[in-house]
């Protein structure tokens, strides 16, 4: 019985244990400003994972997230001189649109999201290549500071990226727990047929979920572009798998209906800690990837709540 009670808390217990293990090995790791810097750096990834959570929560997946983020790094950089801060709006709308199209193809044309989002990701990547002229671009420093300076920098010793991440997290938490959309999303994830029989427009809810995923991927790309002060069609490469891993490790399995955005925060932090631990334990360069995989298996085995999965596929 006690194990049953611990289960929902396993993700953050896992996180705490990992932090302590690294902390014991090197107390430098535990210095607040270090932890803070680590959290700030993981924010773009976190924001993408946040969006991914919605897609996974309804039992799908969004493989276009990385390409959409790539695209928005380019869009942000290209649009900045003309549109200033409105470039952000263009990015967000672009992300929403690509996500919604993925959602439409998944729900209306019945193409599995694994394939539809991968394909739409291809379109986003082509768009990025076209817009960038297949080059890495950089933002003019003054223009960037004028329009997006607020995204980077510090207040009260805390990086603004953390504020942005926290704000988005709070909005998404609110969305998940306190709105009709969040409730509908839960119903679709946990019992799609019952949601249909309750008169919910399941297709619309799913399309919105994918659109949100696209939008947050776009915001992740935007933030990353501002942070790096430039854009390129490959700039956000390497986001996709860690973002998926973050959602899964956080305890939102692909079966849908379980977990949520708070889990994703924990999952992202677990990924960040595992990644840093490679440095703190001085894992040999050629071994890092293997070690990452093994820790991942252990972490997933520890965090997922199997009681809500009837069949493990």
């Amino acid at each position: 019985m006690s194990l049953e009670r611990i289960k929902p808390h396993l993700p953050w217990i896992t996180l705490l244990v990992l932090v302590l293990i690294v902390g014991i090995a090197d107390s430098n790791f535990l210095r607040p400003q270090n932890l803070m810097a680590m959290v700030a750096d993981i924010m773009p990834l976190f924001i993408m994972a946040l969006g991914m959570t919605f897609a996974i929560y309804i039992g799908g997946i969004d493989l276009s997230a990385q390409s959409v983020a790539n695209m928005t790094t380019v869009v942000a950089t290209v649009a900045l001189p003309t549109f200033g801060i409105s470039a952000a709006l263009i990015c967000i709308v672009a992300g929403l649109t690509f996500g919604a199209v993925s959602g439409f193809i998944t729900t209306r044309l019945l193409v599995p999201s694994f394939v539809s989002t991968l394909a739409i990701g291809g379109v986003a990547y082509s768009t990025a290549q076209y817009l960038s002229g297949q080059r890495a671009l950089y933002m003019d420093a003054t223009l960037r500071d004028n329009s997006f300076g607020w995204m980077v920098g510090n207040s009260f010793g805390i990086s603004h990226e953390i504020f942005i991440g926290a704000a988005l997290l709070l909005i998404m938490l609110f969305l998940q727990h306190r709105t009709t959309f969040g409730r509908a999303l839960k119903a679709v994830g946990a019992g799609e047929l019952a949601a249909v029989a309750s008169g919910l427009s399941v297709a619309r809810i799913k399309i919105i979920a994918f659109a949100l995923s696209g939008m947050l991927a776009a915001i992740a790309g935007l933030l990353f572009a501002v942070k790096l002060s430039g854009g390129s069609p490959t700039l956000a490469n390497g986001f996709l798998l860690p973002a998926i891993v973050a959602v899964l490790v956080g305890g939102t399995p692909l079966t849908g209906g379980v977990g949520g955005v708070l889990n994703t925060l924990i999952g992202t932090l677990i990924v960040a800690v595992i990644r840093s631990s490679m440095l703190y334990f001085e894992i040999d360069a050629t071994m890092q990837q293997m070690v990452f995989g093994i820790i991942l298996i252990v972490a997933i085995a520890a965090t997922i709540d199997r009681s809500k999965m009837r069949i493990v596929k």
Binding site: M38, R135, L279
Partner: protein, 369 residues
């Protein structure tokens, strides 16, 4: 052939000279740093030395890292004292790893890095500068980012101007084609700067060969398998019209060679880039007409050395001229007649370099267009 010899002489230094130079403190610019005002500055006694790069699956990066390790060994440390940060092609991981390492070392860090994507260079440099660490970059940075804007902490940037050498290989190729026919180009990841420059090199050369047509240029993402497929498709599309292939690097050339081999085509003129050992062997075997060696071993070592010596106060970067802070790396053309000699004296036995002769083999200040 002679220029290779000269180059090797220039870069290679015998052990005795090297020891003498350091002991006597007449190591060129180093002297200024050692006894100059730099000493007054709080130099880092024993910085952690780190190399941050893309991955271990590419021979190019392995060469880079071997240079870094050779440098670390030259300091009397074991080679695993060099910290490896591998970004797996992710700028995000690249930056996060650097930050984590800065945190772990409290900024006592000498970092050599290729930031994976150009825009990533700025935040990396800014983070290092903020923590008081010393950083030297290789290959990727945006044009508006300059070491001299960061005092001492952004020590240097080294890159290669690939346009000229690529133009030279292209000329070799076009000559071999008899100045007529059709050429295809297989490029790197489209947005990568070297990929853009290497294609531009070909285009420059083509101006002088009006009878040669550039049939197509497709990205092959530095990837052997992708190159293989793209070349196969080219063969369908153009068939016998293709009389020469210009490859953006050696790994692409391998894929091209195999695609031709599958068709039983043995004598297609091909040129490539990078001078990997296998490619050099292929040049010796006349399978490839030319490749360009950029000496990644030296590049990897010297980039780490610059960061390290700036960190320990051996020299003070801000007192160096601009051409010592942004400069082109060396390039050597490898052709069939000198490939064997080049290989034995250069690749099979890696020369011992003077890791304090920072700029000797370099190729002048970086020019922006």
């Amino acid at each position: 052939m002679s220029f290779i010899k000269k180059f090797i002489e220039q870069e290679k230094v015998n052990r005795r000279n090297f020891l003498f130079a350091t002991a006597a403190g007449v190591g060129g610019f180093a002297a200024a740093g050692m006894f100059g005002p730099g000493m007054a500055r709080a130099a880092i006694q024993d910085p952690t030395i780190a190399w941050s790069y893309r991955n271990r699956t590419n021979p190019y990066w392995n060469e880079i890292v071997s240079g870094g390790e050779a440098f670390v060994e030259s300091l009397g440390m074991p080679k695993d004292a060099l910290v490896h940060l591998i970004n797996e092609g992710s700028s995000e991981k690249s930056l996060a790893d650097v930050k984590a390492l800065l945190a772990r070392t409290n900024g006592d860090l000498a970092l050599a890095i290729d930031t994976n994507d150009a825009p990533n260079a700025r935040p990396v440099v800014e983070a290092c500068a903020q923590s008081g660490a010393y950083v030297s970059t290789l290959w990727n940075k945006t044009d508006d980012l300059h070491p001299w804007d960061f005092g001492d902490n952004y020590v240097s940037h080294m890159s290669w101007s690939d346009e000229k050498p690529a133009e030279e290989t292209a000329r070799i190729l076009l000559e071999a084609m008899g100045g007529k026919g059709g050429v295809v180009h297989l490029g790197g990841i489209a947005s990568n700067n070297p990929a853009i420059e290497r294609l531009q090199g070909l285009k420059n050369a083509l101006v002088d060969y009006p009878d040669v047509e550039l049939l197509a240029a497709e990205p092959a993402d530095w990837d052997t398998q992708k190159a293989n497929q793209v070349m196969s498709a080219f063969l369908t599309r153009f068939g016998d019209e293709i009389t020469g292939v210009h490859c953006a690097n050696d790994t692409i050339a391998y894929g091209v060679l195999e695609a031709l081999r599958a068709e039983g085509i043995e004598d297609m003129p091909i040129v490539s880039y990078d001078g990997n050992p296998q490619a050099v062997q292929l040049v010796a075997d006349k399978k490839i007409l030319a490749t360009v060696f950029t000496n990644p071993h030296w590049g990897g070592g010297i980039t780490a050395a610059l960061a390290y010596h700036a960190a320990t106060g051996t020299f003070k970067p801000s007192e160096e001229p601009n051409e010592h802070r942004e400069f082109y790396g060396p390039t050597i053309m490898v052709r069939p007649d000198d490939a064997i000699e080049f290989k034995t004296s250069y690749l099979d036995n890696v020369p011992t370099y003077d890791w304090q002769d920072f700029w000797g083999p370099s190729n002048g200040q970086i020019q922006y267009k």
